[in-house]
């Protein structure tokens, strides 16, 4: 295991290097010039040239890339072109909001999906099963830009139970977490239900029943545990994407997270900030993948790494 951990850590370096190189190239090759956006329309060519020079944007791309890498090795992500603030500080300021929302959305998704999927699989073909499938179809088909305002209008405006937007007390978390969680729950219900039904047909489940185990034991110890294994991948992928920040949900709910920051950075071609955000997002993915491997081993001790 230790060898595996070390291997994963070593692998991290080329992965991040590759990601950052690609992002550096993409964002610099995308049409759009931060100096134009910064100075607006009324600035002269000389002003633009001057600012480009002071920001180091007039240097050849290779030179800019070299200085970016040197700074990165020193642990310096640079300063935002617009806000002139340290990128690392800006990213770390926004990350807790995204983490908080991701955890709650994930919690909500698991909380909704697991009981419904199990219920649905146990009572396959019943009206509850059909209702659950219909619910999951609804969840999968609803885009967040529609679902967000819908829950806002119902719960914040009509019923007046919850705040509309912003990040303040715990009540501000409910609607964005629900919006993100519902879509994810819908996917998890479908996947888990299918997995449960597949495992139910396996020989060892029949054997467990033949041994005279109670139905509860068969479900919990044999069926669910095995069905869960493949769910871990789905859940971790979903969680990884949540940690990357949800652009639409964060924008709709005025949630000051990393997704909104990334989008703002891309729209304004704030190169150092885009790099910083992407680095944070990549690290999140790597961390979640790593955690997933550990969970695999915990759920199924037969799995070993590094041998």
């Amino acid at each position: 295991m230790k060898r595996y951990l070390l291997y994963r850590l070593v692998l991290l370096v080329p992965t991040l290097f590759g990601v950052l190189t690609l992002v550096f190239l993409f964002i610099h090759l995308t049409p759009g010039d931060p100096v134009d956006i910064m100075l607006g329309e009324t600035a002269s060519a000389a002003d633009r040239q001057e600012l480009r020079q002071t920001l180091g944007l007039n240097q050849p791309l290779a030179e800019q890339y070299r200085s970016f890498l040197i700074r990165l090795l020193r642990g310096d992500l640079g300063r935002s072109l617009y806000e002139r603030r340290n990128v690392a500080a800006m990213v770390s300021e926004r990350y807790p909001a995204t983490l908080e929302l991701a955890l709650c959305a994930m919690g909500a998704a698991l909380f909704i999906s697991f009981p419904l999927a199990i219920w649905s699989a146990v009572r396959r073909g019943s009206w509850t099963d059909r209702a659950t499938l219909l619910f999951s179809l609804f969840g999968l088909s609803m885009p967040n830009f529609w679902l967000g305002p819908l829950v806002m209008i119902i719960f914040a405006i009509q019923l007046g139970w919850l705040p509309v937007s912003g990040r303040d007390g715990a009540d501000h978390l409910v609607l964005p977490a629900l919006t993100l969680g519902l879509g994810m729950a819908a996917l998890l219900i479908r996947m888990l239900r299918a997995n449960l039904l597949r495992v139910m047909g396996e020989d060892y489940v029949q054997t467990a029943r033949a041994k005279g185990l109670s139905e509860r034991s068969v479900w919990l110890k044999h069926t669910l545990r095995n069905a869960l294994l493949s769910m871990i991948t789905i859940v971790s992928l979903q969680f990884g994407s949540l940690l990357a920040g949800s652009l639409i949900t964060e924008t709709i709910f005025s949630w000051p997270g990393i997704g909104r920051l990334t989008m703002q950075a891309i729209a304004m071609r704030d190169y150092p900030l885009v790099q910083g955000c992407v680095l944070a997002i990549s690290l999140s993915y790597v961390f979640v993948n790593f955690l997933t491997d550990l969970i695999y081993q915990w759920v199924d001790p037969r799995i070993t790494y590094g041998n």
């Binding site: 956006i37 005025s254 703002q264």
Partner: protein, 516 residues
């Protein structure tokens, strides 16, 4: 499984508890006014702020030598008097009763410092280029100074609207909260990145103490959510960035006090004059005749615009109304296209006279406007291929001249010298913004004369002539001047709309009753 359920529950409870325990936002007193804005101001320090919200909020914190009034006329603010000693020297006497928020008096040394700080290349101010004609600032007394220019340049006066910071203020403030103190009606109280900016009133403000105890600028990027927050009562004031379609709903469902006031933001269709078809002035005039601006303003803008005849609005002292206008007349448009040598190949049939591309941004309202224009031009036999892009890519294309037609707006026009930058033949990109490559020697001469003339009366005559030429030649098809839409609670009084969207009248705004 029970164990994992247990961990799950613990995790959930923990997350919610963490959120609940997180210190809630520094609550503002109930008599603070809450205004919703679309994006977080990137900078408040007037030496660096270039984004609209940064400049507008900054203007509540900082004073400047001159300030535009609600009629867009420059009036003295910190300056007691302004005198033109010769065509390249301005002498300014400052008021002597002004103090910064930290109690220090505001003197000529602070003004000199502010301008020199921008001119210092080490400070990397994006406004440095605006001051390139400034040769020196000479302090002639504790409250007296002179601005020396390299050459006569009347539009320089616009640069006197820059906010003044105390001498020795550090350059490159890292966060808005470190913005130096100002001398304006409000003091920066708190800045929470991405969430809100809070200002409190300056009780010692030299004009008079602002009636509002403070202002919270809440950042709500989504237009629909701003409206829902208003409906819920969490927002007291919104200005612009509201979908025109939403206005009737707001009026009916919220009891809001809604007003649309004439503005200076000019929306136009830019034309590529190097294109073989579009370089023909008859075609450009046909385009102008074929677009029903009244219908667009009435149906798509819901009346939040005023049909425009040119770049300069009636607020501008150089505005000339007696120019060629192009009322909707599709028959005349067809006739002009025939005369230009582009007959309709199949009469009312599906074949167009010619095809052009029309570039716009991917904002929903802009796309709807583009589609409506496409339909109107189709009626005279011109086929448009509407292409929408995100802002940075769109702007990059426009600057490169990669377009046939595009739609964009000019914001914050104060001095008519803007015409030099847009239409003078020396202003082809990258030198200026003459993106359509329009060239007219007579206009060039007038625009050169306009910027070198000191007398406003003479300049008015020069620019009147220039506007007439532009209305004839149509390097742009003028569309409309946007109105400033203000949505507020009826209890918010004395908020005056400024043509350029400035929010400086918040210093006079007050509550008429206890609302919160």
């Amino acid at each position: 499984m029970p164990r994992s359920k247990y961990f799950l529950s613990i995790g959930l409870v923990l997350t919610f508890s963490l959120a609940a325990c997180r210190p809630t936002r520094s609550d503002h007193p109930p008599d603070y006014l809450v205004a919703a804005i679309e994006s977080y101001p990137l900078q408040l320090d007037p030496r660096y702020a270039t984004d609209a919200n940064g400049v507008r909020i900054g203007n509540l914190i900082y004073n400047s030598l001159l300030r535009a009034d609600p009629e867009s006329r420059l009036r003295p603010e910190l300056a007691k008097s302004l005198q033109l000693l010769d065509d390249r020297t301005y002498a300014i006497d400052l008021r002597e009763d002004i103090k910064f928020h930290d109690g220090q008096p505001l003197t000529a040394a602070d003004v000199k410092f502010t301008y020199e700080s921008i001119l210092d290349p080490n400070n990397r101010s994006p406004k440095r280029g605006n001051l390139k004609l400034l040769r020196a600032i000479e302090q002639t007394g504790p409250y007296q100074l002179r601005f020396h220019l390299f050459t006569p340049h009347s539009p320089f006066i616009e640069q006197l609207t820059l906010g003044i910071v105390p001498a020795d203020s550090p350059a490159n403030p890292a966060v808005p909260t470190q913005a130096p103190p100002g001398s304006g009606p409000f003091v920066l109280q708190a800045a929470e990145p991405g969430e809100q900016i809070t200002l409190r009133r300056n009780p010692h403000y030299w004009e008079r103490e602002p009636p509002l105890a403070g202002i919270v600028f809440r950042i709500i990027p989504d237009a629909l959510v701003r409206i829902l927050e208003f409906k819920k009562g969490n927002i007291d004031l919104m200005q612009n960035d509201i979908e025109p379609d939403m206005l009737p709903w707001l009026e009916k469902n919220t009891g809001a006090d809604i007003g649309a006031y004439p503005g200076t933001t000019f929306q136009y269709i830019g034309i590529n004059l190097t294109h073989p078809i579009l370089k023909n002035v008859k075609v450009r005039r046909a385009l102008a005749y074929a677009i029903d601006r009244d219908a667009l303003v009435r149906h798509i803008l819901k009346g939040t615009g005023t049909v425009a005849g040119g770049v300069l609005s009636p607020f501008n002292w150089a505005y000339e109304d007696n120019v060629e206008h192009w009322p909707y007349n599709p028959e005349r448009a067809k006739q002009l296209l025939d005369e230009a040598g582009f007959p309709d190949p199949d009469g009312d049939g599906p074949l167009p006279r010619f095809r052009l591309s029309f570039k716009t941004t991917n904002i929903d309202l802009r796309q709807r406007i583009a589609e409506a224009i496409k339909e109107q031009l189709q009626r005279v036999g011109i086929e448009l291929d509407v292409r929408s892009y995100e802002w940075a890519a769109f702007y990059s294309d426009i600057k490169k001249g990669s377009f046939h037609l595009y739609s964009l707006a000019w914001v914050g026009i104060l001095d008519p010298d803007i015409l030099f930058q847009i239409f003078h033949s020396s202003s082809f990109p990258p030198a200026g913004d003459n993106r359509g490559h329009y060239s007219n020697p007579e206009l060039d001469r007038l625009l050169e004369q306009g910027r070198a003339t000191s007398s406003q009366q003479e300049r008015r005559l020069i620019y009147a002539r220039a506007q007439k030429i532009l209305a004839q030649d149509l390097p742009y098809v003028p569309l409309w001047w946007w109105k400033n839409v203000i949505v507020k609670k009826p209890t918010v009084q004395n908020f005056t709309a400024y043509p350029d969207g400035e929010m400086i009248s918040l210093k006079e705004t007050r509550w008429v009753a206890n609302t919160q």
